[in-house]
């Protein structure tokens, strides 16, 4: 209200406007860039119009040579902390490799053409200043405009950083999950070799299902992380299921086989018991079978009482230590 007519505030505003513009190197840079890009347009038009009679092509190539090199080179020479971070993030992408190659080729092309152009200027050729002139041309036509270009604005930069963070988190989580899973499966494998023989068929089957569920649970977590990456960035992260991993699949199959081997139909188990009974003709075999099995194929021998077992004084080795018996 009264503020707008306040002499005091008007004085402050006047001071601000007078002192608002500071003559800095950065403020001069755009002026130089505009001048050099105009010069670049004239130079490249002269060159391209001599290379072809087609005006449209000449205009297109002039536009390319005026605009493309500074824009692409701006990705290579960041000069703000945000630009440095962006370059670090992009450095691992294929797109950045393409940008580098394209920028280097445009620099080379610009150098060659300018070299030829200056070499055809008699005074420059006579004085041997071709290199110097070409380098000044490169600086003026490409480097200075490139310094003005910012590859992305601040919002995009934040988005890029967020995306890179999510992808990194996804990778780390995947690796951590695989490490945990491998460790868990190996531990389970060890136990399967030694102690699972004491479990009932149902318990073993349940344990096998648990192991499968564990892998599926981790898969689900990874899928969720992948989905969140896709939601935020719009980019689809290819998800490779752990279940598809040959090594993990091998572990799972092994554990499943180990645990469920004894879940045979009753008649089959019965026939196995009979076979074992016939084998017991040689009493020396019995203690060997009663030792903790090193091969999982032997595990079935601990499911049922071994025939002729009572004839021996030796104490039952593992059966007696089963948790169920301890509780009982």
């Amino acid at each position: 209200m009264a503020d707008l007519s306040s002499r005091y505030l008007n004085m402050i505003r006047g001071q601000q406007q007078r002192g608002g513009f500071q003559f800095t190197a950065r403020s001069v840079l755009p002026i130089i860039a505009v001048i050099t890009m105009c010069g670049s347009a004239v130079h490249w038009w002269e060159v391209q119009s001599q290379l072809t009679d087609n005006v449209i092509m000449a205009v297109a190539f002039t536009a390319i040579m005026v605009l493309a090199p500074p824009v692409l080179v701006s990705f290579l020479i960041p000069w703000s902390p945000g630009g440095m971070l962006l370059q670090k993030i992009h450095a691992r992408t294929w797109g950045y490799v393409v940008v580098i190659i394209a920028a280097l080729y445009l620099l080379y092309y610009s150098f060659e053409i300018q070299y030829s152009w200056w070499a055809s200027q008699p005074v420059v050729a006579d004085t041997g200043l071709i290199w110097q002139q070409v380098l000044i041309g490169i600086i003026g036509f490409i480097i200075i405009p490139a310094l003005l270009c910012t590859p992305v604005n601040s919002e995009d930069l934040v988005e890029h950083v967020k995306q890179a963070h999510l992808v990194k988190r996804y990778e780390m989580q995947t690796q951590a999950d695989i490490a945990i899973l491998r460790n868990t499966l190996l531990r389970a494998q060890e136990k399967a070799l030694v102690g699972f023989a004491n479990l009932t068929a149902e318990e073993r089957s349940e344990l096998a299902m648990t192991m499968q569920g564990l892998v599926k649970g981790i898969d689900k977590t990874l899928k969720e992380v992948g989905h969140s990456v896709k939601t935020v960035s719009g980019a689809t992260i290819p998800f490779k299921s752990l279940d598809d991993n040959e090594e993990i699949r091998g572990y799972l199959d092994y554990i499943h086989e180990t645990l469920t081997y004894n879940s045979l139909p009753a008649d089959q188990a019965q026939s196995r018991r009979h076979i074992a009974q016939y084998d017991d003709d040689d009493p020396a075999d019995v203690p060997r079978r009663q030792r903790p099995a090193r091969r999982t194929d032997d595990a079935y021998q601990y499911d049922e009482p071994v025939a002729g077992y009572d004839d021996y004084d030796e104490e039952p080795p593992m059966r007696s230590r089963s948790p169920r018996q301890l509780r009982g």
Binding site: S6, R7, Y8, M11, I12, R13, Q16
Partner: protein, 83 residues
Amino acid sequence: MDDDIEEHYEGLSEAELQELADILALHLHSQLGSRVYQLNRTDVAELLEPYTADLLDDDHQALPWLVWHLFQEALEIEMGHGR
């Protein structure tokens, strides 16, 4: 004469009060520079005391507020948020 004085001191109009605050703010700013932005209302009142002692109580109390408010507006302008 006394009656005239009494009439004069019936109180300042809003526009007059604003103009006086403006002049006083300019005066303090010219004396103290950008340090005026660090003054609180009590400081402003103390600095304005010699110029506002003969005003009526209402105006006397209102002026430090108005001047302090002007300083805050000026600070916002200097910080680039001003209108």
